[in-house]
């Protein structure tokens, strides 16, 4: 706003409030990390500095549940879904922006309609579909139903609209076929859209728990959040706080690392998901 109008008092108050906010959002996370490293009987305190640090809680988590295995599952599932969403959504977005064809409007309205459907409507029939396909307890159930989403198409469509047609026409004259135009020319020129769709998809799949809980019962195929959820809810953590918190830290860590590196991309991508209306 207007710079000249910031009085010193207002500045001090503003910083104080912003710092209170920082403490409110950061302190619980720091406490969680420290508590997961602290001896069990010291967890129930405010302190961020326990008398000694140890990895025993973490070792117990590794002993009790196949954390590394489910980390691998989560990576396979999230990365493959992200890959296919980028490919299929960009193809659809490409068709909607660069071609005139019968039914184009209809497809666009179908996409908007699909996006406004609450998942509660399709949850049960989708599960039945998985049962009938024999996909329960397979990677297929975790991936294929998520291969395309409306939001991805809309993001690509909006971005492709801004890419000048000349680029497209020039490539066509050079003899590129349509697929080559999309993947060799349009996508490399649409990095912001690719990043946004990739982050939104990856985060959505990585953090999802409800669907995995429904379609995966075999512990070896569980995703990381599912495994940790069942660990925290079921008896395996034996109400040891340190162990529960250690498992939560392990679940948070990959995302927090990615977030601290690509922070700007995360914020702009996830903010754009709210703007779809």
């Amino acid at each position: 706003m207007r710079i000249q109008k910031m009085s010193p008092a207002r500045k001090v108050i503003s910083y104080a409030l912003l710092l209170i906010g920082t403490a409110a959002f950061l302190y619980p996370f720091l406490w969680m990390v420290m508590a997961s490293l602290a001896p069990e009987k010291e967890i129930a305190s405010f302190t961020l500095f326990p008398s000694n640090f140890g990895m025993s809680s973490y070792l117990q988590v590794f002993e009790k549940i196949p954390v590394l295995h489910s980390f691998f599952n989560s990576m396979v599932v999230s990365l493959s879904v992200t890959f296919f969403v980028v490919v299929f959504s960009s193809m659809t977005g490409f068709a909607l922006t660069h071609y005139e064809f019968k039914g184009r409007e209809v497809v666009f309205y179908i996409i908007i309609f699909t996006m406004s459907l609450p998942f509660q409507l399709t949850l049960i029939p989708q599960y039945i579909l998985m049962v009938k396909f024999g996909w329960v307890d397979t990677y297929l159930a975790l991936t294929v139903p998520y291969f395309i989403n409306g939001l991805g198409i809309i993001i690509f469509r909006q971005y492709f609209k801004t890419i000048p047609r000349d680029l497209f026409d020039a490539a066509r004259i050079d003899g590129c076929n349509d697929m080559k135009i999309l993947f060799k020319i349009l996508l490399p020129n649409a990095k912001p859209a690719v990043i946004t769709v990739a982050i939104l998809t990856f985060m959505g799949v990585w953090n999802d728990v409800l669907w995995p809980i429904i379609v995966i019962r075999n512990e070896n195929l569980m995703t990381l959040p599912q495994l940790i959820t069942l660990f925290a809810v079921g008896g395996k953590a034996e109400s040891q706080l340190g162990v529960k918190l250690a498992s939560a830290v392990m679940l948070a860590l990959p995302v927090v690392i990615a977030y601290s590196v690509f922070q700007k991309y995360f914020i702009t991508s996830m903010a754009s998901s709210g703007l779809k209306e």
């Binding site: 920082t22 619980p28 659809t92 609450p118 049960i124 395309i148």
Partner: protein, 285 residues
């Protein structure tokens, strides 16, 4: 020429296939399921409107809807006040704005499971940090998750903590689109800060307010992992969310027809609420 006409259809083919299989078919099948009793294994049994009659008398279902409305009623104002306040603070010429923004956004990216496990400890009755803070200033302990009247508000506080960073960013974006001239004109007419906020800022960020309203409504009806991990729907079913109840009916008892009936009914309720909100907001702009 023939090939060129075909290309767009080939490009959208994966989408159409996916839509047919994972959206259109489930929607249609839902509408079949609501008239049947079925546990997947034995043959479907037609029950007419039986599932709806049962739903009408199912106090757990209506309790779950009321719980959700309660969640929304607390969540929306809390979210709006906190998000707008922080957005206003961040929309000033200060230092370290990027840092503050990044910190506020951190809970948004972290899995709900992590946040729930963490807050379960913060809410602990004997040793939770919140109660220790209260006893420190000699206030009585609160049964955050054990008191039936407190459990849902507690979950709401947690959900606000998790989501508010996103809305701070959205409101910040909204605030930055307000034309500076409007404030200057108001200054000339001698408007005070509050008047400027009410008559300029609020109307300009109205679309974002509407979005918070809609997303909170959808979010409230999607509530699952928080009660699943923290309370199991208790105490006294006061945190039983609609999705948790569908989950129990569908995947504990395998009442597929009945679970689908609840899904369809909830969809109706959600869409009706969103349309109502839209009407209301549009009338007020």
């Amino acid at each position: 020429m023939q090939k060129k006409k075909l290309t767009p259809y080939l490009l959208i083919a994966p989408y159409i296939l996916h839509f047919a299989m994972f959206v259109a078919f489930p929607v249609v099948f839902s509408l079949v399921l609501v008239f049947h009793r079925w546990n997947i294994i034995s043959p479907m049994e037609f029950v007419g409107l039986g599932n709806f009659y049962r739903l009408m008398g199912d106090t757990f279902f209506w309790q779950s809807v009321i719980n959700t409305l309660y969640f929304i009623i607390i969540h929306v104002p809390l979210q709006l006040i906190i998000a707008i306040s922080f957005a206003l603070l961040l929309n000033q010429p200060l230092r370290m704005l990027g840092f503050f923004r990044a910190v506020y956004f951190l809970p948004v990216v972290v899995s709900g499971v992590v946040v729930t496990i963490l807050w379960q400890q913060l809410f602990g009755f004997e040793n939770g940090i919140l109660n220790r803070l209260l006893t420190l200033i000699s206030l009585p302990r609160v049964g955050w998750l054990t008191n039936p009247d407190m459990a849902m508000p507690s979950i709401t506080i947690m959900a606000t903590w998790k989501n508010v960073g996103l809305y701070v960013i959205l409101f910040l974006t909204g605030l930055q689109t307000v034309p500076e001239q409007l404030y200057e004109a108001a200054d000339l007419e001698g408007a005070n800060a509050w008047q400027k906020f009410v008559h300029i800022t609020l109307p300009m960020i109205n679309p974002t307010i509407f979005m918070v309203l809609v997303l909170s409504t959808i979010g409230g009806f999607s509530l699952f992992i928080e009660p699943y991990v923290m309370t199991g729907g208790g105490p006294l079913n006061r945190t039983l969310s609609s999705v948790l109840y569908i989950y129990k009916q569908g995947f504990f008892f395998y009442h597929m027809g009945y679970a689908a009936t609840m899904g369809v009914t909830l969809t109706g309720i959600i869409l009706a609420l969103v349309v109502l909100q839209k009407k209301y907001v549009e009338r007020n702009t």
